[in-house]
Symmetry: C2
Subunit: 438 residues, 2 copies
């Protein structure tokens, strides 16, 4: 059977463009009510019964039986052994990637993660003290979507932020461990690791058990149960964004080899049938060449079936009137990954308002960013780049405002505060300010 | 009837200290299942029926009848008229507070909210572009907890971030408007304002209606319905933290006039019976003086009854063995407001790891920070300062990673990415990197 990938061909000049375009984009993050109820139960059970509940769910859902939660812990020696066991080419690649990711996040910390303060004319000290979170949990999916690169991308920013303890959980269905994931945990400096997953692992991290210390924030992707559990524990702990299917948008001026663009679209589509790959281009001949490249390259791909389903179901090749219009459309999508495949990418970059990561120029394939360019590959999906950001050092830090008012400053600020406090009917607030007046 | 405020007196030297201390601290953010279900219904109804549903709920819950949502809009002229109608002392105080809050948040933007980038040895450009969110919603409670200062604290950082449209919603039960809130909206530069509240207002902002444009993030405090609604729309839009009862912790070395400390504790307690005021001090004589000041000052307070209930139910005067131990205890609480009421506050400041805002020295009453020192008064409560931060300019910005790999850089990065991609079974990722090798 011949596998065919047929992304929708749309033109912004068509009368029905927006309707077709919206239909392609549609993806709902609505949670399943049955999953929500099940997850609420699991959370409550782990909260009240702790280790015993974790062990039961791990046996039931992962087919992994253990007498104690200690048995589920992966020792540092086991992580190290995994690192030693993988081929040396993988070891070197992991270390090189970790090194670059670390350098980038260190630069990020210098750029936006340091404490700051100033004194105003009254001598009042104002600023913010930036400190690391004490303890964080990192969820790493098991099974088919077990990505060692995600371990690096979650643990390294936490490490750079100065987090004291980084606790990783990773399900190992029927005890099957992914050596590369364990090796990545070793390279990234994970403090403790447990072979558990699902809502029960999120509950154990959020509430703590006799064995597992409660963390203050949980990051990392997971299935619908994990996502529902993270949403529910939000407030008890911090969480990162809830991730939807992965997406790439390629904005092409027609100068990049069409094979490269086709392969970049594949590299998104191969993740998942729901992944979305979109090409925006003002040159119809180039779009035809990309479709031809898709047809030619697809049979070579081991994951051809997933790629074909993703491209045919959710992909699109969109002919635009201009690159400017393509930029506008891209902003309306707010894609997770945005490739500006152009000889002059900076001409377009400043028009791009919303995107998780912007890959500039033909040589910057998304896959380089996924693994080793340095920036984080945990990015906002499903249009959430309109209001959220890549995972970063800032996600593992928090800020405390600093205020030191001098006796002189209190004379200036006191009457203002008192006036507003009386206006709000908060007399003790007013009196507290007035008591400091001399 | 004599009103008495009796905070618990605890000593860290007692055998049962931690048990009593934990019992005092306990506060649960658990949401009521009935409220959750009701809110889910309202959200769905507004999502499907839009304006009509908003009008019905506003009539039912706020006793405010309108034929169209346009009628619920407060025009810029109405906001301006409110500003003109309030006493000139209030006008000046609002403007002075807004000015200082703006200066602080501008400094914050310079310190941690600017784009940054660098080129590495291979010529690879790496960095982050920081841009404002396009449109945000600000929820302002109506009724007894209508605080104009909250309008400033939410809208000004959004404005400084460069947010294009700031849409405020404020319930006006039975049409009663709070002029000071409207005046604050005028001073803070709110773009549009609607007299609506509850879960229906959150739904209108998150999903949009025919009249109200959908926003990308919603901030601001509200009751249990508002909190539940924000939690549910999280993901469709961004939200700030879910706020619990307000708290103050005073760390005193015994050098501040006891009346000042008593009044600072009152100024937290007067918010709400569930508010929490705690004093930590190594000097038993000073604690006695503070309790005497509480007894003496309480009868003068218009909100004495609330203050007494809050202090007796949730307040505590804690004798510690030392200031160092007091700092440790404070870290275990992670208070929203932390006053270091000491002659040498910087000696202790560096020991303090978790707090929403730290007020240094006897003259820095929390109330100055609440209104006009400059830093934001929207702060993490209920121990969430362990992982979250004051509201700030950064909450109204988002980041896009920038990556530009040169042809030379692609030769270095390609083999690393390909090795890891093959390791993850993602062959298209590997091929995309390898195609760029010359």
């Amino acid at each position: 059977m011949k596998i065919v990938a047929s992304p929708a061909y749309l033109s912004t000049a068509s009368a029905d463009f927006f309707q077709n375009f919206q239909a392609r984009l549609h993806w709902s993050a609505d949670t399943d009510v049955a999953i929500e109820a099940r997850v609420a139960e699991i959370l409550q059970d782990v909260q009240s019964r702790g280790d015993a509940a974790v062990l039961e769910y791990t046996a039931r859902f992962d087919g992994l039986t253990a007498a104690t939660v200690q048995e589920l812990e992966l020792s540092q020696a086991e992580l190290r052994a995994a690192f030693d066991a993988i081929p040396s080419a993988q070891r070197s690649a992991l270390e090189a990637a970790a090194h670059r990711v670390r350098l980038y996040h260190e630069a990020q910390k210098r750029a936006c993660g340091e404490s700051w303060s100033y004194r105003d004319a009254d001598g009042t000290l104002l600023g913010q003290k930036v400190t690391p979170i004490d303890r964080v949990g990192i969820y790493v999916p098991g099974g088919k979507a077990a990505y060692p690169s995600s371990v690096l991308m979650n643990a390294i920013p936490a490490h750079v932020a100065g987090v004291g303890e980084i606790i990783m959980v990773v399900p190992t269905p029927r005890g099957e461990r992914n050596l590369l994931v364990l090796a990545a945990a070793y390279v990234a400096g994970v403090t403790r690791a447990y072979t558990m997953g699902g809502a029960q692992a999120i509950a154990a991290l959020a509430y703590g058990t006799a064995t597992i210390p409660a963390v203050h924030k949980i990051t990392g992707p997971g299935n619908a149960y994990v996502a529902a559990a993270k949403r529910r524990v939000f407030g008890t702990v911090g969480i990162d964004m809830i991730a939807g299917p992965s997406e790439i948008l390629v904005l092409a001026d027609g100068t990049t080899p069409p094979d490269w663009v086709a392969m970049d679209m594949f590299s998104q589509a191969e993740h998942d049938e729901l992944a979305q790959s979109i090409l925006l281009c003002p040159d119809p001949a180039y779009i035809t060449e990309v479709q031809a490249a898709i047809d030619r390259l697809l049979p070579e791909m081991p994951r051809a079936e997933i790629i074909a389903k993703s491209l045919s179901g959710r992909g699109a090749l969109i002919l635009t009137r201009s690159m400017e219009e393509a930029c506008d459309l891209s902003n309306s999508i707010a894609p997770e990954h945005l490739e500006v495949s152009s000889q002059d990418p900076h001409r377009w970059e400043h028009l791009l308002k919303h995107a998780g990561a912007i890959f500039l120029g033909a040589y910057t394939s998304e896959s380089l960013g996924d693994y080793c360019a340095g920036p984080n590959h945990v990015l906002p999906t499903s249009g959430t780049a309109r209001f959220s950001s890549p995972l970063g050092v800032y996600d593992f830090q928090k800020r405390s405002s600093l205020i030191e008012v001098t006796a002189a400053g209190a004379q200036v600020l006191g009457p203002i505060a008192a006036e507003l406090a009386y206006g709000e009917g908060l007399q003790a607030h007013a009196r507290a300010a007035q008591m400091r007046l001399v």
